[in-house]
Point group: C2
Chain length 315, copies 2
DNA sequence: CAACCAATATAACATCAAGTTATGAAGATT
DNA sequence: AATCTTCATAACTTGATGTTATATTGGTTG
């Protein structure tokens, strides 16, 4: 026997409210509608579900047992509505975000932590990659957003790119590095110290080479390469090595690691760091919410950077 | 947002079977029907529930969460069907049975015990009363069946009466009572011993008076009255008192109590012990089942009584 | 890359259930 | 007994669900 789950819900409402009229009111339906539905349910089951001639209406044993199941159905229904509304408000769901490793580790992961403090039911799935592969994944719908440095003219038409910071790389070193005391740095100063290189296929690697070329350093030596941010910073703080990092990363990591940036003009890439996402506002409210959060966090970061620069000038 | 619980069930079926076609098959519906239902659900929610272009079809996070609720609904639905079918088979439910106190205690309670060994999920609610009040309760539908002695011509038209034993009362006494050794009993023999009387409003009390009149005893004395069966038997076995009891009760209780029946013809009431129930086969399969069980048990009891009589004659 | 095959979506229609209002019947209450 | 509340019924409209037939789509394969 197949029973319509809605009928069970209605039965539960009748039982709980002690009457057809009250049950109908609780359900927001008319009394005749509820009455007929109950009659139909009883006729299908082939048994009365309420004791005859009692007020308030009292269910039979069977009626009570089925009403209990009706409560289960209603519970599932309420849970469903809740799930949907939380999802649509971006308070629940899954955000798949990817970006260049250094950025993800150095800046985004902290932003994710703050985001999750705010909306704990959103799960964030982080992965790493560079523009090309991430664009592919965005088109695949296997990724919700990518945080990558990108040249304006390289932005794919079918995707939406929201810039959040200008590309700004700096030479990073440990706090108290010998070079931090010098006002003017020559290529010779630079060539004295070993370099940490990012992975060769990363944009940052290209930035490093260009920076060194700009400075005029030709005989540089690379002592360490291929590590992720944690390794880079460990090596950086444990030695006199230098490396190229986005300024936002150095600025962010200063709070926890003893690194700083040399005041050395190395030429900025013509890229913007930005959030790349499907242009169709595809239905992932949590991702939308996270994107807005990331943008806002970067605005705050930019502001703090400006503030910090002013302070330095004043000193 | 109100979601149709049936849609959730369908969603669960699609998710579990990895496709619309398979889901439809599992549900016993056509593929287009399921397809449209899913489309409708998605449009109401305002979000896709499955990742686009995947085979086997993979649900989104939201789709999976809602499918989980769908499984809850289905579970409740299956439980309901089970509850109903068990109820209709008489394997579950409530049976409200009443009867004259002596009978209920002496015979029916043992039958109930055997019944429950067979169908443990049926609850039996026992109460006591005499024909008049029980007939009232049967009409009220506050009772499923009454086990009472009744004259054939006193059976109400609107109720169904199924005779199960002829009325047969005996004089009961303790085992080894002085009177058990006598072949022929005179009124004087009887008057020597005190009597235990049932409650004055009981049929058995009228039987007692009639029996004593039949015997010709006029000067009898009543030493105890008003007790239920347990008290009666305690007094009986602890003294030389006599009382009138249905033979079926004495026969049944012999197994556990040291009582026996005097071979004294006391004249039988023109009543039949029987099961009285609503003539409408009102929808309580468990009660029907119990009634059939009681009838069968009494048949077996009657058979054992006949067997026992034969044995006595042979000795 | 074209062609094929399986799965899904759409169309068109029939049927049934659920909703409505209006009203009758029945029970409880005084 | 009269009244008032509650439940059942009637008549009708609307929307959902089911069907079969067919078009699209997407993945697979030579």
């Amino acid at each position: 026997m197949k029973i319509d789950p809605r009928h069970l819900e209605i039965l539960a409402a009748i039982v709980e409210n002690g009457g057809l009229t009250e049950g109908a009111e609780a359900l927001g339906k008319s009394q005749p509608s509820v009455s007929r539905t109950l009659a139909q349910l009883e006729s299908r089951i082939g048994t009365a579900l309420f004791k005859p001639g009692r007020r308030p209406l009292q269910p039979t044993e069977l009626g009570e047992a089925l009403a209990e199941q009706g409560r289960m159905v209603r519970k599932a229904n309420l849970a469903s509505s809740d799930i949907v509304s939380r999802f649509k408000a971006g308070h629940a769901g899954l955000v798949r975000v990817a970006g260049t490793p250094i950025f993800m580790d150095g800046v985004i992961s902290g932003i994710i932590a703050r985001f999750q403090a705010q909306v704990p039911d959103v799960r964030v799935e982080q992965s790493y990659g560079y523009a090309e592969t991430l664009i592919e994944k965005l088109r695949n719908e296997t990724l919700d957003m990518a945080i990558v440095p990108l040249r304006r003219d390289k932005v794919p038409r079918d995707l939406l790119f929201q810039p959040i910071l200008p590309g700004l790389n700096v030479v990073a070193c440990r706090e108290g590095h010998p070079l931090t005391r010098r006002k003017l740095l020559t290529p010779q100063d630079i060539e004295e110290f070993p370099w940490i290189a990012p992975p060769v296929d990363s944009p940052l690697y290209r930035d490093l080479k260009r920076a060194l070329a700009n400075i005029g350093a030709e005989n540089y030596r690379i002592s360490f390469s291929g590590g992720s941010l944690a390794s880079v910073i460990n090596v950086l703080t444990g030695s006199d090595s230098l490396t190229v990092l986005p300024y936002s990363v150095v600025f962010t990591m200063k709070a926890q690691s003893a690194i700083e940036a040399l005041s050395l003009e190395i030429g900025h890439p013509d890229r913007m760091l930005g959030v790349l996402a499907s242009s169709t506002p595809h239905d992932n409210p949590a991702a939308q919410r996270f994107r807005a959060f990331v943008v806002a966090q970067f605005e705050a970061l930019a502001h703090r950077i400006v503030q910090h620069q002013k302070d330095r000038i004043w000193r």
